[in-house]
Amino acid sequence: MTATRTQSEPGTSRPPRRLGDRVFAGTARGAGIAILVILAGVAAFLVAEAIPALTAPAEEVPGGRGLVGYIAPLIFGTLLAAIIALIVATPLAVAIALFITHYAPRRLAQGLGYVVDLLAAIPSIVYGFWGITWLAPRLVPFYRWLEDNLGFIPLFAGPTSATGRTMMTAGLVLAIMILPIVSAISREVFLQVPTLHTEAALALGATRWEMIRMAVIPYGKSGVIGGSMLGLGRALGETLAVTLVLSVSGGITFNLISSGNPATIAANIALQFPESTGIAVNTLIASGLALFVITLAVNMLARWIVNRRADFSGAN
């Protein structure tokens, strides 16, 4: 009795902890530390291997225009493809999630949910083949139309690629690839909107769409942003599909439908790595480091967006 009392006095010592609790806390802490160690290991490897490329004279770097000249178009291509994917996929994914959670009859909703999840299970090389053999040729007439009618916008200046293997096609294939993850996460957060809030909106005389706008979307917004950032992460790092679909030649251009496109970082590494030696390998790794930093920045940005209005998040 006395012993327990002295132990539980505030400030003197911690209360006794059970063995199971200690084991679990240790395991969880270990897992938390492991992820940091792995991340630090990858970062250290990238930095160490990238240093020779960073210090190498400009003419030794492949392309002969220095490291920045080599990596800049790749970064540009990576971001452009990923942003196209995100712009196309996010509204579609949110619409699918809203349809499944609030409009579809229950049975259809379940089936549709499985189908969307199934999209995530298709290997990316299949998307690549599908993009190159099926989607790209079918998009060519559409690109021609864009060039003829909207050619004054630099994005659609053309000349239209005859194969359809353009930045736009790569972005669209990526959009389909990230659709499942964005829509699955949106669906989950939309399902978690408390009935209390949806009923509050309905009882005020909101139509279903107004209820969604008033209660569902604001509540799910941070989840949707989180989901699209995961999707963006996947789009940034996607290698095989882009390698297959995108016809690479040329540098930075906003022209989305021509055959001259910058490569993306990941696709470029996949294409060049087997034939590279010496400083060229270090250059590729430096581009990988750039991708790593971009992904980190995207995640931090997403976190900042989500936390900006934490008071209003509905979590409290």
């Binding site: 229950r106 408390p194 209390l196 809030h197 009923e199 509050a200 909106a201 309905l202 009882a203 005020l204 005389g205 909101a206 139509t207 107004e210 008033m214 209660a215 604001p218 509540y219 917004k221 209005r309 008071d311 209003f312 998040s313 509905g314 979590a315 409290n316």
Partner: protein, 259 residues
């Protein structure tokens, strides 16, 4: 403003399950009608049929007639959205929209259905609604703070302000005080006494003292057993219900001799 509601032979279903059977009741305008009864007897379910919120639940449906000042709420031309704008509702747990500020919460209903209101006019409506809910003095300096930053009792009054902002004819309250402390409860009860000058109020409560304190008429719901439909056993002036009820079951319930 303040309409009467006449229900005749209302049956309420969840899918094939008959939850409430044969309710016939006349709810007077400018008065408070309390519905009491044990848990699961269907009083909340019945309340939700008065603004067509019952049918929000998949498979739920209603038979019978609910007429508000001659307007059949379940007629073939009745739009649930319109009905809900005329019949406001306050829920058991305070449910301000967490993503909106105090101001936006009150303005929420006013912004619906494409209604455009000028800023000055909106400010005025928000203020008068908050005053109407006895909340203005407490929140006037922090209208841009989230609604969820208020205490439970304040949140519930915020919900009342939100409900009366669209000027409904009837106000339904589903155990509005069951999540509140006695002081907040008192504040809500005082508010109800003021609101009944302008609205028809129907309140579901588990607190019989509350029913006795605030209401003019009281309806007692009961059910014969698990799986049986709930029924309106007795509907009379509150005084009579609590002193000399017609039915034995009512007397047993209010005196605590309930099975």
């Amino acid at each position: 403003m303040a309409k009467r509601i006449d229900c005749s032979d209302v049956n309420i279903y969840y899918g094939n399950f008959l939850a409430v059977e044969g309710v016939t009741i006349s709810i007077e305008p400018r008065s408070i009608t309390a519905l009491i009864g044990p848990s699961g007897c269907g009083k909340s379910t019945f309340l939700r049929t008065l603004n067509r919120m019952h049918e929000v639940i998949p498979g739920a449906r209603v038979e019978g007639k609910v007429v508000m000042d001659g307007q059949d709420l379940y007629g073939s031309d009745a739009d649930p959205v319109t009905v809900r704008r005329q019949v406001g509702m306050v829920f058991q747990r305070p449910n301000p929209f967490p993503t909106m500020s105090i101001y936006e919460n009150v303005a929420a209903g006013l912004r619906l259905n494409g209604t455009r209101t000028k800023k000055a006019e909106m400010d005025e409506l928000v203020e008068s609604s908050l005053r109407g809910a006895n909340l203005w003095e407490e929140v006037k300096d922090r209208l841009d703070r989230p609604g969820s930053s208020l205490s439970g009792g304040q949140q519930q009054r915020l919900c009342i302000a939100r409900a009366i902002a669209i000027e409904p004819d009837v106000l339904l309250m589903d155990e509005p005080c069951s999540a509140l402390d006695p002081i907040s409860t008192l504040a809500i009860e005082d508010l109800m006494a003021e609101l009944k000058e302008r609205y028809t109020i129907v309140i579901v409560t588990h607190n019989m003292q509350q029913a006795a304190r605030v209401s003019e008429s009281t309806g007692f719901f009961n059910l014969n057993g698990i799986g049986q439909p709930g029924r309106l056993i007795e509907f009379n002036p509150t005084e009579k219900i609590f002193s000399n009820p017609d039915q034995k079951a009512t007397e047993d319930y209010i005196s605590g001799r309930f099975g």
